[in-house]
Symmetry: C2
Subunit: 138 residues, 2 copies
């Protein structure tokens, strides 16, 4: 079987191309693609629990915890006690992460445009459906 | 923008799901998904140069070199001087890698079937075209 028919190869090599571009563009703002994922949760939903971030980004608890540690150290997020539940933690953004929101969102739009430009609206609809379905499979 | 519309998120999360399954299945045979990529090149093309492997798998030279080092240590490949060009190296398979070929190819078929089963032939054709096109973009 040719490797180009292997779903793992197809996803790895396309992901490599996109990740390389995205990492490079985000590096100007001192953040990584995973950190963008967290910031996007905060920008979409406001203050949010680590478990909700994990659910949205489909990540393991240990991965989210490591990403949040690095972001807190870099002053991109803060962790607080949830006022509604003293045993729970909420994550919130900082002045530093608020300040980069517009620029980072422009990068994401440019990335989507660049990599999806060759395809029709119908093809883009299919690719989004297929990738979301696969990402929920185990 | 919802993160599910970000092409990097869509590819990362679907790739995570597939990679996790594939790594686990291959671990029974002591190989990784990247090492499968190299074995697939050998099984498709016979003896092959490291630069040809790099081209087929769309990897950096340093990545291929590291993968080959580990595979050689684990007796899955051998490196020889190319008989047609004494300055060049060719990679070939070993008894150990020949012995796992059939079982590994069954795993790859099962993985493709599992993750692509929910989709129509037309959708699969589109997803393959889209992912191959993206993987060639920079």
């Amino acid at each position: 079987m040719e490797v180009r028919n292997c779903i793992n190869f197809l996803l790895s090599s396309s992901q490599n191309a996109v990740f390389k571009y995205f990492s490079k563009r985000l590096s100007e703002y001192g953040i990584t693609p995973s950190q963008y994922g967290v910031l996007n949760c905060l920008w979409e939903y406001g203050d949010i629990s680590p478990s909700k971030i994990r659910e949205i980004l489909k990540l393991e608890a240990s991965s989210v915890s490591g990403i949040l540690d690095r972001m807190q150290k870099n002053e991109l997020i803060e962790r607080h006690i949830d006022q509604n539940n003293q045993r729970a933690i909420v994550v919130s953004q900082t002045k530093k992460s608020m300040a980069i929101k517009n620029d980072v969102e422009v990068i994401v739009s440019e990335m989507n445009k660049k990599f999806l430009e060759p395809f029709s609206d119908e093809e883009i609809k299919i690719i989004k459906k297929v990738l979301l379905t696969i990402s929920d499979m185990e």
